[in-house]
């Protein structure tokens, strides 16, 4: 029973376990890797994808998907730069503006999905092209520069912690509280598990779905700004394909593409860190540049495969215990799921 419980605990926290394992492996391959500074760098580089992945997690929890986040990051970065060209404003306002523009773009997605009832995949796929196309037109496909103050922000530390990481941490904290401690958060899980049942239960399903796309856009805008602050400039390919990293981070963190399963803390945070850790580790161990994408793809594949196995194993561990026991008690007493023998669920999984 204790081993079963330990197994459950291990499986439930697989993203964290993987994170530690990957760190240890790279540290064994190259001892310079084993350094707190490495972790700080990884966290800094992971922060903007992490912020976007948090928004993606909300969308995935409702069994939706948002392919437009990379383009939202780019378009909001370009739009904010346009505004900054004309008017000066305090740095704080710039951050708010970036997030607001992202939220607005998310609202467009949300409206199309809930009011016009078009599939999220199609809506956000179209938005991915449309937003980037519009941004290219605005910027005439040229590099856009930001004031130095923005770039300075990206390299500022507070008590040894980069500002980007602090922003990431704040986002995670807020969203984690929303998911676990507000009615809206719990309703997201309900909608993702069974939309029709949620409607029958009186959950405002459309409002919940609309809200997650707005959040996703908002966090993409914010993540885009964090990325700008680290790079200091916005090139036409800015954040291209970042939607896939965001999805990968969320899925690595245990979010299910079928909805209803996943969390931001520790899941998506671990996923985002894992993704970046692999990239940094590959640079460290000087893997052939051309091999890097394949190696990181293999690692992502492995992690997702492990997750599938994990889910299956979890189901088995949680279900088997309510099945029939042998007549002798040594067949293993029912664990925490222990319904009385003979009262068990009859339907097949």
């Amino acid at each position: 029973m204790t081993s079963r419980r330990a197994q459950l605990l291990l499986l439930r926290n697989m993203p964290l376990v993987l994170l530690v394992v990957v760190f240890v492996v790279f540290s064994l391959l190259d001892q310079r890797f084993f350094d707190p500074q490495t972790l700080v760098n990884v966290a800094r580089q992971a922060s903007y994808i992490g912020i976007v992945a948090v928004g993606m997690t909300l969308v995935l929890l409702t069994a939706g998907i948002d392919l437009s986040v990379g383009s939202v990051m780019y378009l909001s970065a370009v739009l904010v730069a346009e505004v900054l060209d004309r008017t000066a404003m305090p740095l704080f306002m710039v951050v708010v503006l970036a997030a607001a523009v992202g939220g607005l773009l998310g609202l467009v997605n949300a409206t199309t999905i809930t009011v016009l009832r078009v599939m999220p995949f199609i809506v956000t796929l179209a938005a991915m092209s449309a937003y980037r196309g519009y941004a290219w037109q605005l910027s005439e496909s040229r590099e856009v520069n930001y004031p130095d103050a923005v770039a300075e922000l990206g390299s500022t530390d507070v008590l040894g912690v980069p500002v980007s990481v602090l922003v990431f941490a704040a986002v995670v904290l807020v969203v984690h509280v929303v998911l676990t401690r507000t009615a809206f958060g719990r309703q997201i899980y309900a909608v993702g598990r069974d939309r029709r049942a949620a409607e029958r239960a009186g959950v405002p399903v459309k409002r919940v779905i609309a809200a997650v796309y707005v959040c996703s856009g908002l966090l993409a805008g914010l993540g885009g700004f964090v990325a700008v602050s680290q790079l200091g400039t916005v090139v036409p390919s800015f954040a291209q394909a970042d939607e896939f990293d965001a999805i990968a981070a969320a899925v690595l963190g245990g979010a299910s593409l079928f909805g209803g399963r996943g969390n931001v803390w520790p899941g998506t945070v671990a996923g985002a860190l894992l993704l970046q850790l692999v990239n940094v580790g590959l640079v460290f161990t000087q893997v052939d540049l051309y091999l890097t994408p394949m190696v990181s793809a293999a690692i992502i594949f492995l992690a997702v495969l492990l997750d599938a196995l994990r889910t299956r194993q979890l189901e088995r561990l949680e279900r088997r215990t309510i099945r029939v026991e042998g007549d002798q008690d040594d067949a293993g007493p029912p664990a925490r799921t222990g319904a009385p023998v003979g009262e068990a669920q009859g339907s097949a999984p």
Partner: protein, 517 residues
């Protein structure tokens, strides 16, 4: 007595779908603390009436009053807020959330003025509600770890938490064990004592007679009888529902078991599930597998069909060994498996009847090297099957399976295997949630199958049903076969005793005996 002032009054309610009258001028009145038993065949209009009460449908005519006020719910949420809660047959719980989350999903106590949930307060309230419904679980437990009966208690707790004046139960006992059913009835009585009015819908007429104070019978959308329960013995309910006296509940057996062994299961074992199970099914034989829920019946069937693993033993269909975990091999050898969960496992709900019928037999209608499907032959064959099943559909090619009644859906599930002419049928609860008339037709189909030489293994929780249609009944208890009974030597009490593994209590033997007669 003030208790006589009705809490709910329905007057002349009607509903039409696409020009078809599904509900005609139905009236009822329900007093606090009373239980109204609502019976009728599938398609008689019960669901429509209840969906109107539950705010899911809007009536075309008639009026409703709740506590004297006009009652016009704008949706299920509105209905619940006004005091009418609907507990659906398919439970409305979210298995990925905790019990507390499920209870308060739309009415979480808040930590005012913050928008945060009052976790401690809601957990306390949840604990109190669980105590009221007699569910001994932590409010933090995920619903996916609960058995079906326990999940239902969560829904009832939710109804109590909203102080519902009227609670509608739609087929509440179909997935409950005998003990859970008793618990539910206890709870119904307690709800009654609190003054809650209850509408109880079920096909298990013995249950209805037990819990209801009044009976209301619907047929073809119209009210054909209502009054105190004492005036409605079971046979009267049945004849009102069917519109004629039903002389017999089971068709005469025409099939005579042969000598050929169609299914040979030898020493099947899987730790924690089944132990050393051996059984045989012969040509033209109908064998019943009886046992309490959780005795391992479904698990055994899944192993035989190659869906679940087993540690040792062997399975042979028609003399050919079938390897474990290979359902396609089982199908090739002529095995067919009709699952109890026809919604999730047996039917493509949005596809037309023909496509559903064709699913299994599709390869047989492939023509030429590319296996292009001969649609005309397929539709002709499907039509033939549809006719032999007496399917009530407007169009085999266009009507989606979802739009059919439960009984007709079940016939399609059987029919899709008929097209591939199997040797062995495994039927898991073939009549669950199916009304009396359709049950008879399902039994006829089972007999037909046997008459054509197929072997049939029927899993059922209704002992009467097995006694009515089987040549032999095997009893499974905790994954072991604890009894075998030949037709002519069926004895409900002895069979139950084998299933319980203890001297059968008189009461339970009588209950089952009463169930359908």
């Amino acid at each position: 007595m003030t208790a006589d002032a009705p809490v709910l009054v329905v007057e002349g309610v009607s509903k039409e779908f696409f020009g078809v009258r599904v509900l005609r001028d139905v009236s009822l009145s329900l007093a606090p603390g009373r239980v109204l038993g609502l019976v009728g065949e599938n398609g008689a209009g019960k669901s429509t009436l209840m969906n109107i009460l539950g705010g899911i449908l809007v009536p075309d005519g008639g009026s409703m009053r709740l506590d004297g006020e006009p009652y016009r719910p704008r949706g299920p949420r509105d209905a619940a807020a006004l005091g009418v809660t609907f507990i659906h047959q398919e439970l409305n719980v979210f298995s990925n959330l905790s019990i507390t989350d499920n209870l308060f999903l739309t009415s979480y106590p808040r930590l005012r003025p913050l928008p945060l949930l009052a976790k401690r307060a809601s957990r306390e309230r949840a604990r109190q509600l669980l105590r009221e419904v007699g569910l001994d679980r932590s409010p933090d437990d995920l619903v996916e770890t609960l058995a079906p009966g326990e999940r239902q208690l969560v829904e009832i707790a939710k109804a109590i938490s909203t102080d519902a004046k009227v609670v509608i139960f739609d087929e509440p006992t179909t997935s409950l064990t005998a003990r859970e059913t008793e618990k539910l009835f206890d709870l119904l009585r307690r709800l009654q004592a609190r003054g809650t009015a209850i509408v109880y819908i079920s096909h298990i007429l013995a249950d209805v007679r037990r819990v209801a104070d009044e009976i209301l019978v619907l047929r073809d959308g119209g009210l054909v009888g209502s009054g105190p329960v004492a005036e409605f013995p079971t046979d009267r309910m049945i004849s009102l529902m069917v519109g004629r006296a039903l002389e017999q509940l089971y068709p005469d057996r025409r099939a005579v078991p042969g000598d050929g062994v169609v299914l040979d299961v030898a020493h099947l074992s899987q730790p924690g599930v089944v132990a050393d199970v051996s059984l045989q099914v012969h040509e033209g034989e109908v064998v019943g597998l009886f046992g309490l829920m959780g005795a391992g019946r479904t698990e055994l069937a899944r192993m035989v069909f190659g869906l679940d693993p087993y540690a040792s033993g062997s399975v042979a269909v028609d003399g050919h060994r079938v390897p474990p975990l290979d359902p396609r091999a089982a199908i090739r050898r002529g095995a067919a498996f009709v699952t109890e969960d026809r919604r999730d496992e047996g039917l493509l709900m949005d596809f037309p009847v023909v496509d559903n019928l064709a699913m299994v037999a599709l390869p047989r209608f492939g023509r030429g090297p590319a296996g292009v499907v001969d649609t005309r032959a397929l539709v002709a064959a499907a039509r033939e099957v549809g006719k032999s099943l007496r399917l009530k559909t407007a169009s085999l090619e266009r009507q989606p399976a979802r739009s059919l009644s439960g009984g007709n859906q079940q016939k399609i599930v059987l029919g899709k295997w008929l097209l591939s002419q199997p040797r062995l049928f495994i039927l898991d609860e073939p009549t669950r949630g199916v009304d009396v008339g359709a049950k008879y037709e399902v039994y006829t189909v089972v007999d037909d199958l046997a008459a054509r030489g197929a072997g049939v293994l029927v899993i059922s929780s209704e002992l009467d049903e097995l006694q009515g249609i089987c040549d032999r009944i095997l009893v499974l208890r905790r994954g072991e076969i604890t009894g075998g009974f030949e037709r002519g030597a069926f004895d409900a009490e002895r069979i139950l005793r084998a299933a319980f593994g203890e001297p059968a209590r008189r009461a339970s033997a009588q209950d089952v005996a009463e169930e359908t007669t």
